[in-house]
């Protein structure tokens, strides 16, 4: 059984009277890439700060990298953190900056230099003697990732790690995170607004809004939980289009039917997400029973983005 690296029960964070995080439960396993999603002000950063010992929760318990929240130094020794609004000392070089952090984590100066050089290479920053003031935003972000990984952490907390990176850079970082999760068994907790990254990189996700945890599970679980209708496209002979429309209009699992004016034989369908048997199977069965020839049938999985918008929309059920 895979050990749990991050676990919290009833975690609550308050700033005065404001409840930023309202009694959430989370579990993240070793080697898992876990996405923590939510609109601005959802409480994601507060969760990260509570789990990384920066702020003290008002209630609840948590265990991070095998240590209770009260063992702050043990947790800090075993985690790596890239905060959302991370600043950098502009007068230093990337190497001296990382070496400093390596030493803070107990490495000797020589070990810290070696580890820093290794990470700079891995993240494509090379052995540059450039001062950080000459780094681009993307380079700084990658330097922050290097810093977060300087101690070979058991758990890596990353708040918007691809901020400021170009598409190739984003791809590289996402691939790198997946690699360290698989090869080093590092647990990655990722906060981001970029949902396509999450779909590609995360084993499981949690969606937060207004301090509450709305849902958690695999990307498919979350999409299912969101009740977002699935889109499908049925292509029949243009002479059969009216008959197909009639047949499908009688099915309760079809929420919407639209003619495609550009393609006279196509119908765009909105299918109910939780129909039993599945809506796509009932659509096909009904068309075949009616003796209509099917020329093509495609279903599009709802995206995480659709699910996210549906779950976090004002007035959405919590």
């Amino acid at each position: 059984m895979t050990p749990t690296r991050v676990e919290c029960r009833g975690l609550t964070v308050k700033y005065g009277d404001l409840v930023a995080v309202d009694s959430i439960d989370l579990e993240v396993a070793a080697g898992e890439v876990f996405g923590l999603l939510g609109p601005n002000g959802a409480g994601k950063t507060s969760v990260i700060r509570a789990l990384t010992t920066i702020i003290e929760p008002a209630a609840g318990t948590a265990n991070v990298a095998g240590a209770a929240l009260s063992d702050q130094r043990v947790i800090r020794q075993r985690i790596g953190v890239l905060p959302e609004s991370s600043g950098y000392p502009s007068a230093q070089t990337g190497l001296s900056y990382l070496r400093f952090y390596g030493e803070l984590f107990g490495l000797s100066r020589a070990e810290a230099s070696d580890r820093a050089a290794e990470l700079l290479d891995q993240l494509g920053l090379g052995h540059t003697q450039q001062r950080i003031s000459h780094y681009s935003r993307g380079m700084r972000q990658r330097l922050g990732l290097c810093r977060a990984m300087i101690n070979r952490p058991d758990v890596l907390f990353l708040d918007e790690p691809t901020l400021g990176l170009d598409p190739a850079g984003k791809e590289e970082v996402v691939r790198h995170l997946a690699d360290i999760a698989v090869h080093d068994g590092t647990t990655v907790v990722l906060c981001t607004h970029l949902l396509d990254e999450v779909e590609r990189a995360c084993d499981r996700v949690a969606i937060m809004a207004a301090g509450k945890l709305l849902t958690t599970g695999t990307v498919d679980d979350v999409i299912d939980a969101s009740d977002v209708p699935r889109s499908s496209r049925l292509r029949v002979h243009s002479d059969d289009i009216a008959a197909a429309h009639d047949v499908l209009g009688r099915l309760d699992c079809v929420d919407g039917i639209r003619f495609d004016n550009a393609r006279p034989g196509d119908l765009d369908l909105q299918l109910a997400p939780h129909a039993v048997p599945p809506a796509s199977a009932r659509v096909l069965a009904a068309i075949i029973d009616a003796g209509i020839e099917i020329r093509a049938f495609e279903t599009d999985r709802a995206s995480l983005n659709d699910a996210f918008l549906a779950l976090t929309a004002p007035g959405a059920p919590t």
């Binding site: 990298a65 020794q77 905060p83």
Partner: protein
């Protein structure tokens, strides 16, 4: 588990101190402030030596002016550097990354204190040639160096630690700097009291209790008044007490260092 195990080869404060020193002196921040200090001291030295040339000020008076100015300005520069130490990290967004390392917050403060104190040490070094030139003799120069090193260092240590304590609490750099400089000016004010008031009982107590005015008065009495150390060592009490107290308070307040942008 893959994480690095803690086996600090060096104490956390020394790692921070080295990094801070390289940042302070490797950039224009430290050297710029020191250059400003040197220019002011050079201008003042020129003025007092010109006065000495027409016998308005003798060597002791000239050195006294320079030493008092060096103490006040040197301590002020150390105060400015230290009052940026934590609030500056907070404002530049670098504090959170430090707070999530195993580094004790106490070590963070001690390391920064050492780095900020280096500004005073540099101020002493810069002041020595001016003292040597103006003293025109080993006796005055020796007294001046002792006053600088003993009284000046105590005043500077008190103000540096005080600036750091404010910096730990202040949520912005501006607040930290403004508070530190305002208090420095308040502390320096009694040394500007008119003679009658300063020589009265209340004035004398006020000056002795205040670490900055006590240090400046000691410099004046020993260098200009030629009154010897034995009569005036009590003027070192308040700078010494202030140095110890401020350092303890700054270290204690390290526990209360927060990010300050709660959301």
């Amino acid at each position: 588990m893959t994480s690095t195990t803690a086996h600090h080869t060096r104490p956390g404060w020394s790692i921070v101190a080295r990094q801070e020193l390289s940042e302070l002196w490797g950039s224009t921040r430290g050297s710029g402030v020191l250059l400003g200090f040197s220019v002011l001291l050079a201008a003042l030295s020129y003025l007092v030596s010109a006065d000495a040339g027409i016998n308005l000020l003798d060597a002791r008076e000239s050195v006294g002016v320079i030493v008092q100015t060096a103490i006040a300005l040197g301590a002020l520069t150390a105060l400015v550097i230290s009052s940026d130490a934590i609030s500056g990290e907070r404002e530049r967004g670098t504090l959170e990354s430090l707070l999530v390392t195993p580094l004790h917050r106490r070590d963070l403060v001690i390391g920064k204190l050492i780095a900020a104190t280096s500004m005073w040490v540099a101020a002493i070094v810069v002041s020595l040639p001016f003292v040597a030139v103006l003293a025109r003799g080993p006796g005055v120069a020796f007294d001046a160096v002792i006053v600088l090193v003993v009284a000046g260092s105590l005043v500077a240590a008190a103000l540096t630690a005080f600036g750091l304590a404010i910096s730990s609490l202040a949520m912005s750099n501006r607040v930290s700097l403004a508070s530190a400089i305002s208090i420095m000016l308040l502390l320096a004010a009694p040394s500007r009291l008119p003679g009658v008031t300063a020589n009265g009982v209340l004035g004398s107590i006020l000056i002795k209790l205040n670490p900055v005015s006590a240090g400046l008065k000691l410099a004046n009495d020993v260098l200009v008044g030629q009154q010897g150390w034995s009569n005036h060592w009590t003027l070192l009490i308040s700078p010494a007490v202030a140095a110890v107290l401020s350092t303890v308070v700054a270290i204690q307040l390290s526990r209360r260092i927060e990010l300050g942008d709660s959301r």
